[in-house]
């Protein structure tokens, strides 16, 4: 059981606040990755406030709870905000993002013992392997909880992803739900212009995954898809959710362009963006 179990209206309220956090964090240090963070806000809010069984009183081993791994570590702002809003650490600590001596490193890390983070990520392509290993450890431990991992679609360029894609079905790792943020953008431009990904549904299916597709920016589609994914675990196959999102979702002038992948808004842009997002749970 999720410790919050929020309804859709409450999730929308939290998502608006998380988006405010993301924008204010990257603005304050004039660095970080707002585009993917905004696009994945509904997903992380859903996982932590509705879907996952988890305990904000953080324990690294995560026994008897669901685990989440962020493979595309550059969207750390959304994860930090959601973790803080879920009570893993003080919301005020978001103000230290990317600053010297902070636990909120540019990319997630364990070295500073930030609650909620179980492995460093940022160098892409490693999270699916890590999550698969964690899922197998759960099986060995007779722990029936699930492991979630989020990857970017640009990240699928990395060869290691496909090593893990072969491994998980071969070893029947069926307590694993992987999610690809299919926003179609990467640093240099649209994913299909940089490195054509082709039919991802067919690709993952042919590797032996059970594949779902959903709209990652609409709770009314996303929550049922996540529930369906849960219901499909334990049947001998890992689950892949191809999650269509819009990079920069929630701020009109940031939406749908790779331009906001790794660029922070300036003062005027921040103000314009914040006007579009209702402050609900108090800014940090």
């Amino acid at each position: 059981m999720n410790p919050f179990n929020k309804d859709t209206e409450e999730l929308k309220t939290i998502a608006a606040q998380v988006r405010r956090d993301i924008l204010r964090m990257v603005h304050a240090v004039n660095s970080g990755h707002p585009g993917g963070s905004l696009g994945c806000t509904e997903l992380l809010v859903s996982l932590y406030f509705k879907i996952m069984e988890h305990n904000p009183d953080f324990k690294m081993e995560g026994k008897d709870e669901d685990l989440f791994f962020l493979s595309n570590g550059h969207i750390s702002p959304v994860w930090y905000s959601v973790l803080a809003r879920a009570g893993y650490f003080e919301v005020a600590e978001l103000a230290t993002f990317r600053k010297l001596n902070s636990r909120l490193q540019g990319h997630p890390a364990t070295e500073e013992n930030l609650p909620g983070i179980r492995i460093a990520s940022g160098s892409l392509g490693q999270g699916l392997s890590v999550a698969t290993g964690a899922a197998q450890a759960k099986k060995l431990n007779k722990d029936s909880n699930l492991v979630y991992v989020l990857m970017g679609d640009g990240e699928l360029d990395e060869g290691q992803v496909w090593e893990a894609a072969m491994y998980a079905p071969h070893h029947r790792v069926d307590n694993l739900i992987a999610i690809v943020d299919r926003n179609g953008q990467q640093i240099d431009g649209p994913t299909d212009a940089i490195m054509y990904l082709g039919n991802l549904h067919a690709k993952w299916e042919s590797f032996g995954w059970k594949v779902l597709e959903t709209n990652g920016n609409d709770f009314n589609e996303l929550i049922p898809s996540l529930e369906e994914a849960k219901s499909l675990t334990g049947k001998g196959q890992p689950i892949m959710i191809l999650m269509n999102t819009i990079m920069g979702y929630g701020v009109d002038f940031m939406m749908g362009s790779h331009k906001w992948h790794g660029v922070a808004p300036n003062d005027a842009q921040l103000q314009e963006a914040l006007l579009q997002l209702k402050e609900a749970n108090d800014d940090y």
Binding site: E61, I119, A120
Partner: protein, 317 residues
Amino acid sequence: MKDFPYTESKDTRSGFGAGLHELGKSNPNVVALCADLTGSLKMDAFKKDFPERFFQVGIAEANMIGLAAGMTIGGKIPFTGTFANFSTGRVYDQIRQSVAYSGKNVKICASHAGVTLGEDGATHHILEDVGMMKMLPHMTVINPCDYNQTKAATIAIAAYEGPVYLRFGRPVVPNFTPADQNFQIGKAVLLNEGKDVSIIATGHLVWKAILAGKILAEQGIDAEIINIHTIKPLDEEAILASVAKTRCVVSAEEHQLNGGLGDSIAQLLARIMPLPLEMVGVNDSFGESGTPEQLMEKYKLNEGAIVEAVQKVMARK
């Protein structure tokens, strides 16, 4: 010069296999992963007796390192097995981010290190692995010298919490260290006391150092011989105590001079006790095909090279 009797020669990789099998029996958290080299790594016994804790990864070393890092999160103690080349250079970034930086309790077990892999040639010989691994913060680097020591090291690293690189090899070498040795990570082993020169060796070069010590004794040179099985953390205290007495050092290893044990000793001496050092190792070159014996001869990784280095370093005292 002390005598080092032995009754048999064995490969260090078999010491790893035997140690891993022992761990299978004694520690239910120990799991093993292998990238399609189960026989070469001598992991068959573990695989046979503990199949539910053995994970065949296929020829996908990057995935193997990530899986192992993930398994630690459930309290498992993963031992990964492949050749030293594919355990390090091929997966450096995976080890760096998912294991070392993340402080994960993964044991990276690397066989067929150095030129003694032999005929396969330079694509498979790695002579840079110790350098790569010792540069990583949090990483412990161990290179035992014979079967018994490799078995003891394998068992010891399971009880240590943190990432470890364990390096061993393919050729059969004299098995002379005690079967019941108490392997202490980071503790040098003083094999022979002497006063004229400190020979500090690791891995397969330890036996070569003993052979060199015998030749030197015939020449009236009294060599102190130290087995450094743990290159990081380096037992600085033991090295400095020896060098304070002998006033000169020869390092010996089956590795590049750049980045190896000799490099660590050079840093230590330069910082604290600047005294002459000669280094036996591979000097900025790749290996090549040949028998292990031919390669050890050609690349000056044998007792003759150590004796020559001793004569050179003593003349510099």
